[in-house]
């Protein structure tokens, strides 16, 4: 299994036992998020997923800096050393 680094926004760490960065094994993004949901439980799920179980529309997930909406979403395959960043969607120049 491929080991991946996950970095959480500060705004999310109250739901991740104050962990800002962890390593998890998994083959694609969906599998990694499911593992995180199991590990951290309801509070994490409530922040990340909507009622239909989809990623909330105001959350952005990046793999090595690339927005996963420009990749294959939850199906995006991962390789060793990949870095996943989970942050709220905020922008405006």
């Amino acid at each position: 299994m491929t080991e991946i680094t996950i970095i959480f926004s500060h705004a999310l760490i109250s739901a991740t036992n104050n962990q800002r960065e962890i390593r998890v094994k998994g083959e694609n993004l969906g599998e990694i998020l499911n593992k995180l949901a199991k590990r951290y439980g309801n509070e994490f799920k409530k922040k990340l997923f909507d009622k239909e179980g989809k990623i909330k529309r105001f959350i952005n997930i990046y793999i090595n800096g690339k927005d996963t909406r420009f990749l294959d979403g939850l199906e995006t395959k991962l390789k060793k050393g990949d870095e996943i960043l989970i942050i709220p969607a905020v922008s405006g120049g």
Partner: protein
């Protein structure tokens, strides 16, 4: 503050996402405690701080005031005649201290940073916010880190550098730049005004609505045309009209909102036209309107809701339509706009010519940045001039006499 998604309330601290659901936060006010009247406002200085009670700053000592706001609302007879509108106004925000509307949110955000005893501020910018944040940070005596993508107009970079900001030029798009700024804010304790001070920052743009109400003799317009990138300004203008009504300073708000985008970066327009509730981001925006080149608009989904609720619309303009509109505005009304202003005028013209705007409607078109920031956007045939010999015959030849 109140979460826009779940409604949970939070104290007004240095937070920007809901502790319950991760949703975006909005500053809220107890309108019963605010006693702003028309007479009180009439007696105040003509800048955005006249609305102090409706801005999220506790102590007037922290106000960083370069004089932003209370810009002219210009009645546009000639432009109106050309496109068939009888009650057309331009809100001319090209005359702010750093020549764009961004002085409004930057002024509020840097003031809030002082209130939070911040050590450094910054922003992720497509150019205009860079200069605005840098200027207000200079006045506040705070170090400033400005993150910009490649391709920003040289004048905007020169202006920002002059204020002493540290310019971080990122090899990538605005959205990549924004993500990097986000990470820098978290790791290096920098208050990025449009990221971790965002709930406070956006409040400054509400003043664009308050002023229009005042300048229209305490009435709201029938329609507003708003150049849109992230969507934050459109949401703020809508909130501003609602708040004035809440305070009894204006009548019923029945203003149709129009979201104007550049065709090379129009994710909100595309979603609106397909009746989607989601906004599909654009990976590589390509438009002459660099200040609107945000492919992943943070407030896009909320703009869609507000457009539908107001019975408004969304429309895009091509690069050619944008530069033509810059010329049209300059040559009819004497206002030189940057391409973002060209976008709103181009969309106004399209809607008027298609008959989607009643000729008698009171329309306000927001022009939010000065043309001197991006003169290279103009076609070369209007900027080129051929030198002549210093002889009167040469002049006569040029003018064809």
């Amino acid at each position: 503050m109140k979460c826009r998604e779940c409604g949970e309330q939070h104290p007004a601290k240095r937070i920007y996402a809901c502790q319950e659901c991760f949703g975006p936060l909005d500053v809220i006010y107890d309108y019963n405690d605010i006693s702003l009247t028309k007479d009180v406002l009439r007696g105040r200085r003509q800048n955005l701080w006249r609305y102090f009670e409706l801005l999220p700053i506790n102590d007037r000592e922290n106000m960083i005031d370069l004089g932003a706001g209370y810009t002219t609302l210009q009645k546009c007879e000639e432009l109106g005649k050309r496109i068939g509108l009888k009650n057309l106004f331009i809100k001319n925000d090209t005359t702010n201290p750093t020549y764009s509307f961004k002085d409004r949110p930057a002024s509020v955000a840097v003031s809030k940073a002082l209130e939070f005893h911040t050590k450094a501020v910054g922003c992720a910018s497509t150019g205009n916010l860079a200069a605005a944040t840098a200027a207000h940070a200079a006045k506040a005596g705070l170090p400033c880190y400005v993150f910009i993508p490649e391709g920003i107009e040289p004048n905007k970079i020169a202006q920002t550098a002059a204020y002493g900001a540290r310019i971080i030029k990122v090899k990538g798009t605005y959205d990549e730049t924004n993500r990097l700024a986000y990470q820098a804010a978290e790791l290096y304790n920098i208050d990025i005004v449009n990221i971790n001070l965002r709930p406070y920052y956006v409040e400054g743009s509400k003043t664009l609505a308050y002023e229009v109400c005042e300048q229209l003799d305490w009435h709201t317009p029938d329609r507003v045309i708003i150049p849109t990138a992230s969507g934050a300004m459109l949401c703020a203008i809508e909130k501003g009209f609602r708040e004035f009504k809440e305070l009894g300073l204006t009548d019923e708000v029945d203003t149709k909102l129009v979201c104007a985008q550049a065709e090379g970066c129009a994710p909100i327009v595309k979603s609106f036209n397909t009746s989607s509730r989601q906004v599909q981001p654009i990976e590589n925006p390509e438009t002459v309107a660099h200040s609107l080149a945000i492919g992943d608009p943070g407030d896009g989904i909320y703009v869609l809701e507000k457009l539908r609720r107001s019975k408004g619309t969304a429309e895009a303009a091509t690069d050619k339509e944008i530069t033509d509109a810059i010329e049209l505005l300059a040559q009819t009304e004497g206002i030189f706009a940057e391409p973002a202003g060209g976008v709103s005028v181009a969309v106004l013209k399209k809607l008027a010519e298609r008959g989607e705007i009643d000729p008698n409607e009171k329309v306000v078109c927001y022009v939010t940045g000065n043309g001197l920031k991006s003169p290279e956007a103009l076609p070369s045939q209007i900027t080129e001039s051929i030198p002549i010999e210093p002889r009167i015959q040469s002049f006569a030849y040029v003018i064809g006499r």
